[in-house]
Amino acid sequence: MTAASRIALDLRALRARAYVRIVGSIREPAWVVSDAVLPAFAMAAFVLLYRALGAPRSYETVAVIGGILSTYWLNVLWGMGAQLYWEKQQGQLALYFAAPCSRMSILAGMALGSILIVTVRSVIGIVIGFLVLRVPIGAFDPGALALVFVVTMAALYSLGMLFSSLFLLYGREAWHLCNAMVEPVYFLSGMYFPLRTLGALGAVAAGIIPLGLGTDAMRQVLIGEAARGLLPVRTEVALLAGLAVVLFVSARGALAYIERLSKHEGRLTQRWQ
């Protein structure tokens, strides 16, 4: 197979997996509730907590932005991290490893489809936050927002691709890992309060989990000084881009390891193992 035909095959696989993710999500309306409506409700509760505490209104905006981005984290965990585990449970994982295309193109397609569908669903959070709760937001630079969003998603979903291999190794613990990585990560990423509040702990966490840096950068683009940002936006974008590269390369290595393991031992792809 020539390099050109291999690239064409991988691109087709990417598009096909993205299509399955998008169409599958549309066919499962109940997931809109768990993926978009419930995080928006939790976000509303946090906004009302700030109101009850008499905090400045900019904190409400901080909570709404975090709440909207939390839907992406849930998707990274359950839609990317746990995906290979689901496939194994459904008996389809062996087909992934038997397919002639690159496994990374399948994961990349899954990530692309996820980003598109979650972005559409995040409208629910935007409506609840800015229209129903009337949280204040001023003028912002859409170009800067788009740049920060793209870099954040690249880093986040590269982490999701890495998780998908790691969670598969942990077998039944994948479920518990996903559950355990929601609230603690929200705390360490400052999803509902400025990351700066956590001091050194927040800075260290931001260097490991891209969610905190991305949320902080998006807040700074959207509400400026009131976001009480951790680092200048340019620095955060550069760090996120670096994280995206490191995580993508790590995901590739982890997937190759999983593939080797599945072929040598022959158990990894079997249901109930």
Partner: protein, 274 residues
């Protein structure tokens, strides 16, 4: 005896993937994380007029909400797991123990785990400044209110389990949705006075709204809601008792109706996920 067998089985199913220490760490990460999020929000605004007493009221209710999350969602999850993953729900339904007693037994483990979480979250709260005077706690009223709220949690759990019986594929979303809906409606981390009209009235039908207010008042000395603050201690506990009793009746009738309907429509063994 059958209750104990169901509880033992529940413990083994829930914890057999890890050694007990790892299991407990995993089980506690979520409630501790949630408590830390609230703390982070408070630390962020502490220097800007936020009162520590008010934060303590919300932190306390959030700690006790773990019973609702763990037991209520947990009982719905038992149905999902038994039907979808282990494919043994039909066996439980036809066994002499019966589904209601089995669910009650499984809920005991969840009560135990929730109690551990509440104690640890309150302990963390104590360390970060959410404290109260034990001498000022109204123990008599608290002894009445606490079990009423726990009973309400169990009743609501049966209703959620009944709904899960009827919704093979959507049960996971429904379980989570009910828990977060209650978090919002019952004013766990804000006073129900902030809810729009209509939702406020709906929140007063739910025993958990009265439970959280009672816990705040009897442990910390003051509630969070101005609207409920005008009631005497006796009226507050009476409202909690009445709404709990009503939920008990609805739960008993509702679970039976839902189970009957699920049997008739063949949903007891309708696996759709794995």
């Amino acid at each position: 005896m059958s209750l104990r067998a169901a509880a033992t089985l529940g413990w083994r199913i829930e914890s057999n993937w890890a050694d007990p220490l790892v299991f407990v760490v995993y089980a506690l990460l979520r409630p501790v994380g949630q408590a830390l999020i609230l703390s982070g929000m408070y630390w962020a605004v502490a220097g800007q007029g936020a009162s520590p007493e008010r934060f303590a009221a919300f932190y306390l209710a959030n700690a006790f909400h773990e019973y609702v999350v763990r037991v209520l969602i947990g009982m719905g999850w038992v149905v999902v797991e038994e039907r979808e993953e282990y494919e043994t729900l039909r066996n439980v339904c036809v066994s002499p123990i019966g589904l209601p007693r089995y669910l009650a037994g499984r809920s005991l483990v969840k009560f135990a785990l929730a109690t551990t979480s509440v104690v640890i979250v309150l302990g963390i709260g104590w360390a970060i400044g959410v404290r109260w005077d034990f001498g000022a706690v109204r123990w008599g009223w608290l002894a009445l209110a606490l079990p009423l709220g726990l009973a309400a949690t169990l009743f609501a759990g049966f209703l959620v389990a009944g709904l899960a019986l009827m919704m093979p594929r959507a049960a996971i979303s429904a379980n989570e949705g009910i828990a977060i809906g209650l978090y919002l409606l019952c004013g766990v981390i804000f006073p129900v006075d902030l809810l729009p009209r209509g939702l406020q009235e709906l929140s007063l039908v739910l025993p958990f709204t009265w439970w959280y207010e009672a816990l705040r008042r009897f442990i910390l000395g003051a509630g969070a809601s101005e609207r409920l603050g005008t009631l005497s201690d006796g009226s507050l506990v009476l409202a909690l008792a009445v709404t709990t009793a009503l939920l008990g009746v609805v739960s008993r009738w509702g679970f039976r109706a839902l189970e009957r309907s699920a049997r008739r429509s063949g949903r007891i063994d309708q696996a759709t996920l794995f």
